[in-house]
Symmetry: C2
Subunit: 320 residues, 2 copies
Amino acid sequence: MNVLISEVGPRDGLQNISAIMPTEAKKAWIDAAFLAGVSEIEVGSFVPPRLLPQLADTAEIVSYARRIKGLTVAALVPNRMGAENAIKAGAHKITLPLSCSESHSKANLRRTHAEVLEEARQIAALISDLPEKERPHFEGSLSTAFGCTLEGHVPEEKVVELGIALMEAGCDEVGLADTTGYANPASVRRLIEKVWAAVGEDALTGIHLHNTRGLGLANAYAAFETGLRTFDSSLGGLGGCPFAPGASGNLVTEDLVYMFEAMGVSTGIDLEKLFGVRTLVQDALKDDDFYGFTPEAGLPLNFTPAKVSGVTSRTIGANS
Amino acid sequence: MNVLISEVGPRDGLQNISAIMPTEAKKAWIDAAFLAGVSEIEVGSFVPPRLLPQLADTAEIVSYARRIKGLTVAALVPNRMGAENAIKAGAHKITLPLSCSESHSKANLRRTHAEVLEEARQIAALISDLPEKERPHFEGSLSTAFGCTLEGHVPEEKVVELGIALMEAGCDEVGLADTTGYANPASVRRLIEKVWAAVGEDALTGIHLHNTRGLGLANAYAAFETGLRTFDSSLGGLGGCPFAPGASGNLVTEDLVYMFEAMGVSTGIDLEKLFGVRTLVQDALKDDDFYGFTPEAGLPLNFTPAKVSGVTSRTIGANS
C-alpha cells in the first residue's frame, strides 16, 4: 500500500515566514527533496510579488523543477491570471483555493464564492483550449473546510455544495484543507464521506491538514483509514496561513512520513535522507520555526521502513 | 460515548523532572484536576525514596486524595512491598509494571520477567486476603510493549504471552504501555486485538501512550477506534521514562481531552478549567518542560464540547 506525500513547504511554508529564501536555495531544497524520494512538490504561488515577495520567483522555480523527471510540479493560483502564468511556466498541477467560509474568502482572496467559481470556470476554459498533453491537473481546494477563525463553525453542507460547484466549474478534482487547524478525526472522516457521496471517490483523493492543536497526524490517520491517499505536509512544519490568525503549523513532513513508514505504508521517501533535507533547509533559513518530533527523537532502534517494490535510485541529470 | 482520561502527571510527570514538587502543591494540583472533571489520577509510586525523592510523599498524597469522593486514586508499585504500602495508604488501583523487554525490565525494575511475575502472584495473594470491599483494582502494565530503546523490536507474541502470564498471576486487568514512543496506529490496533484474543476484551481496557515521535494522538485515536476507552496522559506532557533514553514526552492531557471533546466523545473534563490547572502547575514548577498545542492555540472560535449527560458540578467537601 502506498501514499503520496505532497511537500508544500516551498509554498505554504515560505509564504508564512518573513525571510525571503534565495532562489538558488529553493532549487537546492527541491533537488534534495526529490533525491530523498519526494514525488510531488508545491513549489510556489502565482500571486502578485507585492503581496508575497517570498514567492516572487515562482515562475523560475516551476521551470526549474519541471526539468526533474519523475517530479510532479504543483503551484497555487489565486485566479485566472495566476493560472495563465502557471501554465506558461509549465506546472503539472494547479490548485485554486476556494475558502468555504465566505468571510475568509473575502479576507484571503478578496473575492466572494461566486467570483472564485467564475475564476474556476475561466481557468477550466483556458485548460480545455490547450493541447491534451499540455493540460495541467486542475484542483479546487476547499479551504477552511473544517472551520474558520472568523466565522467559527462552517456547515458541512456548505463544503459539499462548494465541492459540487467546483467540479461543475470544471475542476478535475477537489481537495479538503484544514486551513485553521479545526479538524478532528471524526469530522475528517465525516466530511470525506459526505463529499465523496456528492462528487464521487475519484474527485477527492487528498487532504491538506494543519497541526495547530496537535491533531494533525491523528487527522491524517483518520483520512487514510477513510481512504484518502494524498497528504500535504511541510518540511519542519514550516508555515500556516497569514490570513487566519493563530492558524500556524503545517503537518510536519518528517513525522507524517515516519508514521506511514512505521505502519508499513510506503511513501517512497527515505527518512534519513529527508532528515538531511531538513538540515539543508534549516541551514539556509537560519531564523525559522522548524519543529517536528521524529527528527529530534531519532528513529527507533533497528527501525524498518515499509517495503517498497520497484524503488529506483534517483538522479537529477542534465537531460532528465 | 465516553472515555476515561487517567491523569498520570503527578507520577509519570514528576518522577522525570529534577525539581521536587512540594506536597502542598501536589495536593492543590489533585484538587484542581478533580474540580476540572478528572476522575482518575495516578498520584505517585511506592518506590524507595532514595530512588525517586520526587515521589517520597506518595503515601501522604494517596491518603489525601482518597478523601475526595468520586476520584479514583491510582498508584504505581514496583513490587509486593510497594503494594503493601499502597494498600495501607488506601489506593483504589495499583499498577505493577512488567517490561516486555527483559533488558529494560532488568534496567528499570532490576528484575527478570519470572521475578516480576512472582511479585504479581504475591500481590494478588495479598489482595485476596483483604475483605472484599477493601481490595484495590490490580493492573499489570505491559511496558515497552511496542518496542524498546535497548532491544529495539519487541515481538508481539512476547507481549501476548506476558499478558496471559500476568492474568494467570492474578491481575484483574492488563494495560499496554508505549514507554518508549515506538507505537504507531497500525501496531496499536494489531496488539490490542492480539491481547484481546488471548485474555478477553474485559481484561484490556486502557493504554499508556507517549508522544516521542509525535504520533501520540494518532495512536490514541487508533486505540479508541479499536475499542479501548481508558487513556493515560500527563498535564503539559510532563515526564517520560528516565530508564529509556530519548523516550521523553507523555501524551498531553489538554490535547487528548480536546481531541475527544471535538470528536463529540465526552471526557467529563472542562477544557477551560483544565487550562487553569495547567497554569497552576506550571506556576508551581517554574522550570519545567510543559508543552501542548491546544493550550497555546486556544480553543476554536465558538467551540462546542461533547454533550455530557448527568454532569455534576464538583466540590471537595470536608466530609467527602
